[in-house]
């Protein structure tokens, strides 16, 4: 099974490098579409296949330290635990949907081959980030995903897009620099880059001030990648400027794989949660949650509004991780920490589904009407029934209306905050949920409800493939919402339970990856 791990990176890379060749061929045009769809579906199939397996580690080139402990940990490891599997499934799901949506949507742009080349490079980078078992490859894949996303944001080459992309590029490379600095400090302290081997030395290093310098750089770097509030300035420009399926990928999975997953991996698995880190995570989460939604309420650009909500919703996930870390650091009951982390990870998955769907809906309305200003839209319910229906489902999900998926994950996070006795945070999370609801009532009123403006009288529903992509995600939203409470109360959700256990594993991660502790 572990031979599938490098394939998760190699397959999108191979697809990415074939695309420009097919672009040069020009004929037949459907070949690019076919390759993209097949690659997406293969990735989804592999990530579903991986779900049934336990912890797996693949040592590139057979440099397996457990074979001979005296050789030390130098090989490149790809490691797959529950958290990785959850992220891989999320990435593949959104990838497939974004590819299907792109088939028609991207025909307005001339060079679809180059688009899919960058697209699959980004997917390869994200898969690499979540699979990487050592910090340096983590950094390299982070850069692969980030650089392709910079170019994708600027894909339209209009002045706004270039401006947004340049801002994103400068802040993104600064973030990468910070991350590399943190990795360098950790390497200096431990003499190794393997995450498990670093974790093994954490007991002797505890309290070392250099560790806090490294953690500070990680917070700045990964906080920038996750667009947590004080580091969020680039996101509301970059995400709306990209083509709609890329917005869906960026908001849906990129900020999670590069930001939130990385924060969880670094602070829970590599450094181990302490009270200080927990406070920082909770502060970042609470700030992002509140500031994001307050900034979103006043927006009139559909995609910009969604981008601000991404900041806010990611705040929920980071807050939940922070609560989990705080309970663990205090030595509190593991069940409460587990509940918070479960809620956070569930929200991460849900957010990928409904925010991608919302961005696709905004792309569909823009495709049909040519505008994304809320005030110029309206009355699309009859003209575009599929898009409107999907937009309704996604809005209800993100607003936290039962029985949609967003409600359950927010409920679990708030319940965990109450159980951990962070009553203020629970109240804040409830307030933000309410503000989100208000904001999406506005979206519903201006996009779907109201009068159809005369200039949009000839508006028609988007092509079937774009509709299919949206319906798929809407089914995920409803399915997760309906099944989640039933599954959680009966047998549990293996996907999320294993991911939670992976976050909680802590020192056990060392034994599972290295196959026994090293001398």
């Amino acid at each position: 099974m572990d031979t599938m791990l490098p394939l998760m990176v190699a397959l999108p890379l191979a697809a990415a490098f074939l695309m420009p060749l097919l672009e040069k061929l020009r004929e037949p045009e459907w070949l690019i579409d076919l390759l993209a769809t097949l690659a997406g579906i293969a990735l989804l199939a592999m990530s579903i296949r991986l779900l049934g397996t336990g912890q797996a580690t693949y040592w590139m080139g057979g440099w397996n330290p457990s074979a001979d402990a005296t050789k030390g940990v130098f090989g490149i490891a790809l490691s797959c635990d529950g958290l990785t599997r959850l992220l891989l499934l999320t990435i593949s799901l959104v990838t497939v949907v974004a590819v299907i949506f792109s088939l028609r949507y991207m025909q307005r742009y001339t060079t679809k081959g180059f688009y899919f080349c960058l697209f699959f490079l980004m997917v390869a980078g994200m898969n690499g980030v979540v699979l990487a078992g050592d910090l340096f490859n983590f950094y390299v894949f982070l850069e692969v995903a980030a650089i392709s996303s910079y170019s994708l944001v600027a894909f339209g080459c209009e002045s706004e897009e270039l401006e947004a992309s340049f801002k994103y590029l400068v802040l993104g490379s600064l973030a990468s620099t910070f991350v590399l600095f943190a990795i360098a400090i950790l390497y200096n302290l431990t003499g190794t880059l393997n995450m498990a081997a670093i974790r093994q030395q954490m007991t002797t290093l505890a309290g070392n001030p250099a560790l806090y310098v490294a953690a500070g750089f990680f917070v700045m770097g990964l906080g920038l990648k996750a667009a947590m509030v004080p580091f969020h300035a680039w996101l509301p420009d970059a995400h709306p400027s990209a083509p709609a399926p890329i917005s869906a990928m960026l908001s849906g999975v990129l900020i999670k794989a590069l930001g939130v997953y990385a924060l969880a991996r670094v602070f829970f698995t590599v450094l181990g949660p302490t009270a200080e880190y927990a406070t920082v995570l909770m502060a970042l989460g609470a700030l992002s949650m509140l500031a994001g939604v307050l900034l979103a309420v006043g927006q009139w650009d559909f995609k910009r509004l969604l981008a601000y909500h991404s900041i806010s919703q990611m705040g929920y996930v980071v807050l939940a991780l922070g609560i989990g870390a705080a309970v663990l650091a205090k030595g509190g009951p593991k069940a409460i920490a587990g509940l918070a982390i479960f809620g956070g990870l569930f929200h991460l998955f849900n957010h990928a589904a409904f925010k991608s769907l919302l961005f696709l809906c905004s792309g569909a309305t823009e495709y049909a009407t040519g505008t994304r200003q809320l005030k110029e839209l309206g009355g699309l319910a009859h003209r575009m029934p599929v898009t409107s229906g999907c937009c309704r489902v996604a809005s209800l999900s993100i607003a936290g209306v039962p029985p949609f998926n967003g409600f359950w994950s927010k409920l679990i996070i708030i319940a965990a905050a109450v159980q951990a006795q962070y009553y203020w945070l629970a109240a804040l999370a409830t307030l933000v949920a309410f503000l989100t609801l208000v904001s999406f009532i506005k979206v519903q009123r201006y996009v779907i409800g109201g009068e159809l403006p005369t200039r949009h009288a000839a508006v028609r529903e988007v092509p079937a493939s774009m509709g299919l992509a949206m319906v798929l995600l809407a089914i995920v939203c409803i399915g997760a919402g309906v099944l989640a409470p039933w599954l959680i109360s009966t047998q549990g959700v293996p996907l999320l339970d294993q991911a939670r256990d992976a976050v909680l594993a802590g020192p056990d991660y060392v034994t599972t990856v290295l196959g026994g502790t090293l001398p």
């Binding site: 340096f136 650089i147 080459c157 340049f166 590029l169 620099t177 390497y187 200096n188 300035a233 420009d237």
Partner: protein, 124 residues
């Protein structure tokens, strides 16, 4: 310790240029300075006064004697890993800078200026 702190100063200069300079080219230079601060930091970690290349030769073993050849080698060799790391990081930096320069050129075509303050189509 001082050289390490100097790399931090270099990083701070880069961050200053990114945050405060209005000219796109100067911002790009700021990013490059920040990147090179990390590269210097990495290479400093592998540095060892009077160290030799981490390649073990037969002549080296003969000079040290068979019994403690490995220890003598390890005591003098520099750490090769940071060098491999900055090689990768330089290549990544090159890609980023090339992309930034390309975008700066396109932005100059659109706006006719490199001044960030005059590029204001996006509103927060």
């Amino acid at each position: 310790m001082a050289p390490y702190l100097l790399t931090m100063v270099l990083l701070a200069i880069g961050v200053y240029a990114i945050a405060c300079k209005r000219n796109l080219i100067k911002v790009i230079i700021g990013v490059m300075i920040a990147e090179y601060a990390v590269n210097l930091f990495l290479i400093l970690m592998g540095y060892r006064t009077g160290g030799h290349a981490p390649i073990r030769t037969a002549a080296m073993d003969e000079a040290a004697g068979a019994a403690n050849a490995a220890q003598a080698f390890a005591a003098g060799a520099v750490d090769p890993l940071p060098q491999a790391l900055i090689l990768t990081s330089i290549v990544i930096g090159l890609g980023v800078v090339a992309l930034m320069a390309a975008m700066a050129i396109r932005l100059h075509e659109k706006y006719g200026t490199f001044d960030v303050a005059e590029m204001r189509k996006l509103r927060g």
